[in-house]
């Protein structure tokens, strides 16, 4: 698996396809912290959203690196299609680490926050960035590693999916009946809701976390199934 991850990382870097999402991400973080004395958790909430969108983009690039014949050669060497998928996901997570660290430590180094960092701020910052990155990778995989990848409007559909997930709370407030539909979108608002400086680690916070955790596990299995179905 290590060799496959190296193969993917080298291929990804040499493709130079990381440049557009990385540049946009960096620009977003620079603009976010152009002002000083900003609140800690809500700023991290915004940078988590940046990471969510960026990781979707990176995952979509990662899954479109190989042509069919290259993929088939890799399947035979890895001896399983599941390993191929897991290798791709692990590569995305490795790519995520430096850009997540940048989002967390850039405002600390530049002294952009209106208060000092505390232990629970660090915990929440890492937690929200990691969860958003994972959700981004899952959305990217859905539109590039399953039957949806072959559809004409895969990229457009992915953007629509991301927008719906970010706007799902507003959608429910506008039309309550939508609450029966929006649960299919990644539950990013369940994390964002708690990213304010009057953060309380109450029951609702833990229930929301459990829901997000179950959502990630469940969608991972669905994606494995859809990927294997596409590569059947």
């Amino acid at each position: 698996m290590t060799a496959f991850i190296r193969y993917e990382l080298m291929s990804f870097i040499r493709s130079l396809k990381f440049i557009p999402p990385a540049v946009l991400y960096l620009a977003w973080i620079f603009i976010l912290y152009a002002y000083k004395n900003v609140p800690v958790l809500s700023s991290y909430g915004v940078s988590s959203i940046c990471l969510y969108l960026t990781m979707t983009w990176i995952a979509m690039v990662m899954f479109s690196l190989e042509v069919e014949s290259e993929k088939h050669i890799l399947f035979t060497h890895l001896r399983s299609k599941e390993r191929f998928l897991c290798g791709k996901w692990l590569t995305c997570l490795i790519v995520m680490v430096p850009i997540m660290l940048f989002a967390i430590f850039f405002p600390i180094i530049t002294g952009s926050f209106n208060e000092g960092m505390k232990g629970d701020y660090y915990a929440l910052a890492f937690f929200s960035h990691i969860v958003f990155a994972i959700l981004g990778i899952l959305v990217g995989s859905l539109f590039s590693a399953t039957f949806l990848a072959t559809r004409k409007y895969a990229w457009l559909s992915a953007v629509f999916f991301l927008v719906c997930s970010l706007a799902s709370k507003a959608l429910i407030e506008t039309l309550e009946i939508l609450k029966w539909i929006v649960w299919i979108f990644p539950p990013v608002f369940k994390i964002i809701d708690h990213m304010s400086n009057d953060f309380i680690g109450n029951m609702s916070f833990w229930f929301d976390n459990i829901f997000v955790f179950i959502y990630i596990i469940f969608s991972t299995f669905i994606l494995i199934y859809l990927f294997l179905k596409k590569e059947k």
């Binding site: 290590t2 060799a3 190296r6 290259e70 050669i73 890799l74 060497h77």
Partner: protein
């Protein structure tokens, strides 16, 4: 031991039937050629055997085996040098760097590509890419070796080298390949599966002890083609056709060709 068994297996891609009612067995050590016209389903059958494709109907049984796969067209956009690529691929199969480097150099020498090992694959010629594509499948000695038109893009010495390598494989290695060239079919296959429109037309053991002659002739019209009983036939430029025929049938074929106004331009023993 049976490595692969299909019973009435079929494969659909985007609603189109690619393979239908495939019933075959591939045993350990068998050397099988899959022949057929372009688009007949040869490559899909090869992928079904190797597990790259799964059947969408019927039944398939596959033993666990180490597979080497050579695609028809080596991918164009690989972003590594030949050496980097082969090293990473070899490591994926769990071999150590030292072992892989030795195998890479051995095969590179055999295929005369040692000078290009540090050249990016993108900049290599079609033949060199094809050779790299063949070497990647042999880095770990495969138990089932699948080759899709492996001689495409290779020059004549490399084609003969390839045939020698395949013939030198362990007797227990099963080799399944698709080919248009008679060289591999005549020189390697013990069994020939003919496929058309995704269906197996024939599946026959070859008479390997018999001598084979190559007859090349200019034909006045193509009506004669269907009446010639041959092992393999290939259209060449103009009206030239090359036949591989069993020695015992060669006189009969020659008479038939001459009686039909064909001009014999070459006759030689192939095996």
């Amino acid at each position: 031991m049976i490595l692969f068994e299909a019973m009435n297996a079929g494969k659909q891609i985007d609603g189109a039937d690619i393979l239908n009612n495939i019933t075959i067995q591939i045993a350990e050590g068998e050397k099988v050629a899959i022949v057929g016209h372009n688009g007949s389903g040869k490559s899909s059958l090869l992928k079904l055997i190797g597990g790259i494709y799964e059947n969408t109907s019927g039944q398939v049984k596959r033993e666990k085996f180490i597979t080497g796969y050579v695609p028809e067209h080596f991918p164009e956009n690989i972003r590594f040098t030949i050496k980097e690529y082969l090293l990473l691929i070899g490591k994926m199969s769990g071999k150590t760097e030292g072992e892989i480097i030795k195998v890479i150099y051995d095969y590179s020498e055999l295929f005369s590509i040692t000078a290009y090992l540090n050249t990016p694959l993108k900049n290599c010629s079609k033949g060199t890419k094809q050779k790299a594509g063949i070497i990647q499948a042999m880095l770990t000695p495969p138990e089932l070796f699948l080759l899709d038109e492996p001689l495409t893009g290779l020059d004549e010495p490399a084609q003969k080298q390839m045939l020698n390598i395949l013939n030198s494989f362990n007797q227990r290695t099963s080799i399944v390949f698709t080919a248009h060239e008679s060289l591999l079919v005549d020189g390697l296959a013990e069994r020939v599966i003919t496929i058309a429109n995704g269906t197996i037309l024939s599946d026959e053991k070859k008479r390997i002890n018999e001598k084979i002659y190559m007859i090349k002739a200019i034909v006045p019209n193509k009506e004669i083609v269907s009446t010639i009983d041959c092992v393999h036939m290939k259209y060449q430029e103009g009206n030239i056709i090359e036949w591989m025929v069993f020695a015992e049938q060669s006189d009969e074929v020659l008479i038939k060709l001459l009686n039909n106004g064909c001009k014999i331009i070459e006759l030689k023993e192939k095996r």
